[in-house]
């Protein structure tokens, strides 16, 4: 991949993500509402929300929070750039977890009961997901002998999902957690009605909260990008397949969100790790055997 295309992709990512994912989020809310028999908000609602949040007065319980949140946002974007510019997948995941750390620091800086309890949950959540995220990178390495995203795309003659069904299942499973959908006790879940209020974001006011939202969008773009990565190959037409796959996964997540209760984090950890070990582990083992 030439440096120009890399830069192009990175710029596209930075510029387009808020619009695309914001819109997806809007549709998410609309579809959820319809699934609940409601009419729901306009699909542009996420943007109205953001605008409003930026207009709010800035209150804070601890000044350190703002700068940590900005760092969180920057790191997420940086990870996204690494990913979309086609660099090392493993590094993307490492730098995502570094970003998450900033969020965690931001939330505990306030000494708030709900933010702190939420932080602990957030940590558990990261711990539940991280093995699977790393394994996805491992899976791609096994299938293509490289961690580099651009090589994964250009050097695979067929979509890698062929070799990695188990990894895909595991990844979709943890996406439910990553997308902050309700099936799990997630502190920043989009449904406020839980014991830790809004968890890590409890104390974030106005623009701080807006930044966290935007950061989440950027993160979701990376995650959906990884979903797509399972489906693309060097054939340009597979991009269409990837987009369809992304939409299907996205819809599936909404469906799961609307058809299950929020289970406790203990079960979340067990299920996430269990799925990781079973689905991804089996797949890993088989791939290793094939490679000899």
């Amino acid at each position: 991949m030439t440096i120009q295309t890399r830069v192009l992709f990175a710029v596209l990512y930075v510029v387009l993500t808020p619009f695309v994912i914001g819109l997806l989020d809007g549709f998410d809310r609309k579809i959820s509402a319809r699934m609940q028999g409601r009419r729901g908000p306009s699909v542009l609602q996420p943007f109205f929300d953001l605008k409003k949040l930026f207009e709010k007065e800035f209150l804070t319980a601890n000044k350190m929070q703002l700068f940590l949140i900005r760092s969180y946002l920057c790191f997420i974007v940086l990870s996204g750039i690494i990913f979309f510019a086609g660099f090392d997948l493993l590094l993307v995941i490492f730098s995502l977890s570094t970003a998450a750390m900033f969020l965690i620091l931001a939330s505990t800086a306030t000494h708030s009961p709900f933010a702190s309890q939420g932080t602990s949950r957030e940590l558990v959540q990261i711990m539940a997901c991280e093995p699977m995220e790393l394994l996805v990178a491992v899976g791609f390495y096994l299938a293509t002998s490289t961690f580099t995203v651009s090589d994964i795309v250009t050097k695979s003659p067929v979509a890698n999902i062929r070799f990695l069904p188990g990894f895909f299942v595991g990844f979709v499973f943890i996406l439910t957690i990553k997308f902050r959908k309700s099936p799990f006790d997630i502190s920043t879940s989009h449904h406020a009605h839980q014991e830790v209020i809004k968890g890590v974001t409890s104390e974030m006011v106005g623009k701080e909260y807006a930044m966290v939202t935007i950061a989440e969008w950027y993160e979701n773009a990376i995650l959906l990008g990884i979903v797509g990565l399972f489906f693309v190959s060097s054939n340009i037409l597979t991009v269409i397949g990837a987009v369809i796959a992304i939409l299907v996964v996205w819809f599936l997540e909404i469906l799961i969100d609307n058809t299950s209760a929020r289970v406790k984090w203990q079960l979340m950890l067990k299920l996430a790790w269990g799925t990781t070990i079973v689905a991804a582990g089996m797949n890993l083992f088989l791939l290793e055997i094939i490679r000899g």
């Binding site: 509402a33 319809r34 699934m35 609940q36 028999g37 409601r38 009419r39 729901g40 058809t259 299950s260």
Partner: protein, 131 residues
């Protein structure tokens, strides 16, 4: 689907059918006739006896015999209907349609034409509220 996501059937059905949401406030709501909305007075039959004032549990009604006014603070009325029962002339009624929300708690006041000694009274115009 057994234990796993059994709700998806209904959820998907909802997704593809008309939502239950009413279009209020873009389409006005029709109320059943018994709806207890707000208290209205037939000011012509009122005899300013004050029975309603004394019986009203939150004390929303004021009857001023001397000033010849009957007034109600609709932000205080609980639509219990006790006044309508107690009114000897049955001139109070609870009718559909509620007091619109507003930034101020105002009092709705009517001048009652009833004149105990002299039967002839000037027709008084009710002061319209700013609703």
């Amino acid at each position: 689907m057994g234990q796993f996501l059994p709700f998806s059937k209904q959820v998907l059905k909802n997704l593809f059918s008309e939502p239950a949401t009413t279009q209020y406030p873009f389409v006005p709501r029709e109320y059943p006739e018994r709806t207890r909305g707000h208290v209205d007075i037939d000011k012509d039959s009122c005899i300013l006896c004050g029975m309603c004032m004394r019986s009203c549990p939150p004390g929303a009604i004021k009857v001023d015999r001397a000033g010849k006014t009957w007034s109600i603070n609709r932000f205080d009325c609980i639509q219990c209907g006790y006044c309508t029962e107690k009114c000897p002339k049955k001139c109070l009624s609870i009718t559909p349609g509620y007091q619109e929300p507003g930034p101020e708690k105002f009092v709705y006041m009517v001048e009652v034409p009833y004149e105990p000694p002299k039967p002839a009274a000037k027709p008084a115009t009710p002061t319209p509220s700013q609703s």
